[in-house]
């Protein structure tokens, strides 16, 4: 069944207290599969299935949980990933596969696009540090592969944070933050976000932050009405 159909049926089924009906688990899981395949997303559905796993531990299915977590990474900068993590109980997080997603999440949440693209392209060099999160970097790209539209989602996320950070950005830097995107792709994304090209397309004008981000000094303003009481109380100074 298509995502839209499942979504419509489920929204009726998880209304009010029925959200907690464990009978919905199978259909919710099917809907998560559809999201993965069709590059769709529904916040209520993914959080509901995690909730049901929390309340009905016997129905827990880690495969679905993994897919849910990866789906929530695709809607960054929304806090869905953080929300989803809070719904996973202690006894579940020992799993290496989940750990791997949490580590990837940490990279993305800190806007470390450079590392993300290295992981995707297989150029990531793990350190010898015992805490090195990506000892087998290839596992990450393998995990991402079935998720339709994952890389595009991350590019979109990168553009959103670039929008609020940069006034002008060089094409070279922009392209590298977008994982070495081609000129054509960079131009298409820039157009989508309303960025103008300048200097023969070598620089993009993102937004005029100069106008809003300014140094200011704020002085105290005292309203007369606030001190009127005191001024009228008229206590003569003490005379010695």
């Amino acid at each position: 069944m298509s995502f839209e159909r499942l979504q419509r049926d489920l929204h009726e089924a998880i209304e009010g207290v029925n959200r907690y009906n464990p009978e919905n688990v199978a259909e919710l899981a099917a809907c998560v599969q559809a999201m993965v395949a069709e590059n769709k997303y529904d916040k209520d559905i993914v959080l509901t299935i995690l909730k049901l796993y929390q309340l009905n531990p016997e129905r827990y299915d880690e495969n679905v949980v993994r897919q849910v977590l990866l789906k929530t990474l695709m809607v960054l900068p929304s806090s869905d990933f953080a929300l989803a993590k809070c719904l996973i109980d202690t006894n579940r997080i020992g799993s290496q596969e989940l750990r791997r997603i949490f580590d990837l999440g940490a990279v993305l949440e800190s806007c470390n696009f450079a590392v993300f693209w290295k992981l995707m392209k297989g150029t990531y060099k793990p350190t010898t540090n015992p805490n090195e999160p990506f000892k087998v970097p290839a596992e990450i790209s393998k995990m991402i592969k079935p998720m339709a539209g994952f890389e595009d989602a991350i590019k979109h996320y990168a553009c959103r944070v670039i929008s609020v950070t940069f006034q002008n950005i060089e094409k070279k830097l922009l392209s590298s933050l977008l994982g070495g995107a081609s000129d054509k792709e960079v131009t298409a994304l820039a157009k989508k976000f309303g960025w103008e090209t300048k200097e023969n397309g070598e620089v993009f004008f993102v937004a005029n932050h100069e106008g809003t981000i300014k140094t200011r000094n704020i002085d105290e303003k005292i309203q007369f009405s606030h001190v009127a009481d005191l001024l009228t109380s008229n206590v003569p100074p003490l005379a010695f």
């Binding site: 929300l83 809070c86 006894n91 800190s110 806007c111 609020v164 933050l177 105290e220």
Partner: protein, 537 residues
């Protein structure tokens, strides 16, 4: 000093009723005054006399507890039934609700399993009276009592979850009973608890009604006779806030905020009439925002709540009723709020009310400095002191180690994982403060970033802006209505140059001078009086 409450004893009918009962209260060890109180109380409930009920509930009950029941419990339901006569089912249920609440409050280690079970049964009976009646039942209770019922119900559920995860809290006999209860899932199971709260919502059509109110439509147009009844409307309203708390305790922050989306945070909301309800609402909404990394929203909630408590503190402490056995929710939350506020402001500094800011600096100044220097343990401490008691509804431990703290550790961990990715922020701020313009490469070298990791370093700048602009918020960045920026430092990057804007706020001195002028006048008054007294020989 305890304030005595007088009740009207002159009525004929209750003395009659007592005479016809062959009951002698002194025999059961119930003082006459208490017996009279109970009879009068049940009559006022019958008559739906809300102002009287409020006095009897809020003042007389703690007063009598103080005088007669410091070392023993209030009489049990059978004795009470003999005192007030038969046919007062609803009063007995309400009385038992108070009775069990006392039991919970008195035992530092928590009540016995049997009492936990009985208390749940009593709640079930109360709610089924309310929910399965064909017509709205004729009952009027003061707001504070209605809120206390919902609040205590959620609290006892929380207490039960922590109890069953901790084998150290029970004796051998209780283990058998607990196995039984868990097998039948007939007490304090998450499903019936959620069911009751949601049923209160749907019975009162509270969500539809609040939505209508928000859209300036007549709420009665979406409500049936239950929804239009004052009792059901208020119970539904308080159940929303009880549910908010339940969702947060289970780590479901999105659902928590969704639950109260139509509860307007404004001076007209019913929550304003009950101080503990106001504090609960602000604390849990603020906490949910904190977990969703909307530090700006969270700060606003916490500061408003602190201001409220500060304003009403003198009134609260003068109320004699709150002193015995009743847990000081507001006092405890007051402390917790400072820790949570410290976290928010360490990650995203903002200007807040000055009186709160100075108290915060006094309490947590050093901690905040450590947090700003990237000390994760300091964040951990502040979080675990400030957060609510999380719970796992499915964890039962019959023997072995106490697992009641596991959910707390889990939430702390996922909070800290978020903090770690923002850990560079305070350090970054430290450098940005010193400049008005700064090339990105130069900043990278300050922070010991080599050429190879330069792109990763840019991520820190992007994260900073992402947090400050609250990109994670669903509705997009809020439109700031005043012209004063909330953050003290902001920047944008133009190619490879960071342009920094800082907002300097001149110290507010008016308040200070006003206080001292007043003080001076007071001193002068005193001096004058001394002076004239001294002139007499």
């Amino acid at each position: 000093m305890s304030r005595r409450v007088e009740f009207d004893m002159s009525h004929e009918d209750h003395t009659d009723r007592r005479r016809t009962n062959t009951f002698s209260s002194e025999e059961d060890g119930v003082p006459n005054e208490v017996a009279d109180y109970l009879v009068y109380f049940s009559r006022m409930i019958d008559e739906q006399n809300v102002p009287e009920i409020l006095t009897l509930y809020d003042q007389a009950f703690p007063d009598l507890t103080e005088r007669f029941f410091r070392d023993r419990m209030w009489p049990d339901e059978n004795v009470v039934e003999r005192i007030i006569g038969p046919g007062n089912k609803l009063f007995i249920i309400l009385y038992k609700e108070l009775y069990y609440r006392q039991l919970y409050a008195r035992n530092a280690r928590g009540p016995l399993l049997v009492h936990r079970y009985e208390s749940f049964m009593n709640y079930q009976e109360l709610f089924s009276e309310l929910l399965s009646s064909k017509d709205p039942i004729p009952l009027s209770l003061p707001n504070v009592w209605l809120w206390d019922i919902i609040d205590e119900f959620v609290y006892q559920f929380q207490a039960f979850c922590l109890y069953k995860a901790n084998p150290g809290k029970r004796n051998a006999d209780e283990v058998e009973d607990l196995i039984n209860i868990e097998e039948n899932q007939n007490a304090w199971n998450i499903y019936p608890v959620l069911n009751i709260l949601y049923s209160l919502l749907s019975k009162s059509q509270i969500v539809e009604q609040l939505k209508a109110l928000k859209e300036k439509r007549n709420p009665d147009s979406v409500a049936d006779e239950f929804g239009q009844s004052d009792l059901y409307f208020k119970l539904g309203y308080f159940a929303l806030i009880g549910l908010l708390r339940t969702h947060v305790l289970l780590g479901d922050y999105h659902q928590a905020l969704k639950t109260v989306q139509y509860v307007d945070i404004d001076p007209k909301g019913i929550y304003n009439t009950v101080p503990t309800c106001l504090v609960t609402l602000h604390y849990f909404v603020g906490f949910s925002h904190l977990m969703m990394r909307n530090y700006g929203e969270a700060t606003k909630m916490f500061v408003n709540c602190l201001l409220y408590i500060q304003r009403t503190k003198t009134v609260q402490s003068q109320q004699p009723s709150k002193k015995n056995f009743q847990y000081d929710v507001i006092g405890k939350t007051w402390d917790q709020l400072f820790y949570l506020l410290a976290i928010c402001l360490a990650v995203q500094p903002q200007r807040i009310d000055e009186s709160i800011a100075s108290q915060l600096a006094e309490r947590c100044g050093e901690r905040m400095m450590h947090m700003a220097n990237g000390n994760v343990d300091e964040f951990r401490n502040a979080f675990s002191t400030g957060c609510p008691k999380f719970l796992s509804p499915t964890t039962v431990v019959y023997e072995g180690v106490n697992q009641s703290k596991e959910p707390l550790l889990r939430q702390t961990q996922s909070f800290l994982e978020g903090i770690e990715s923002q850990m560079a922020l305070p350090v970054l701020r430290g450098y940005l403060k010193l400049y008005t313009t700064l090339p990105t490469k130069k900043l990278a070298s300050f922070m010991d970033v080599d050429e190879e990791n330069y792109d990763s370093f840019l991520g820190k700048l992007l994260t900073y802006k992402m947090i400050v602009n609250e990109l994670g918020k669903e509705a997009g960045p809020s439109t700031v209505d005043d012209d004063e920026p909330q953050t003290d430092i902001d920047f944008y990057v133009d190619r490879d140059m960071i342009n920094i804007a800082d907002t300097k706020v001149a110290r507010h001195v008016g308040e200070h001078f006003l206080r001292h002028i007043q003080k001076l006048q007071e001193v002068q008054d005193v001096l004058k009086r001394l002076d004239s007294a001294g002139q007499k020989p």
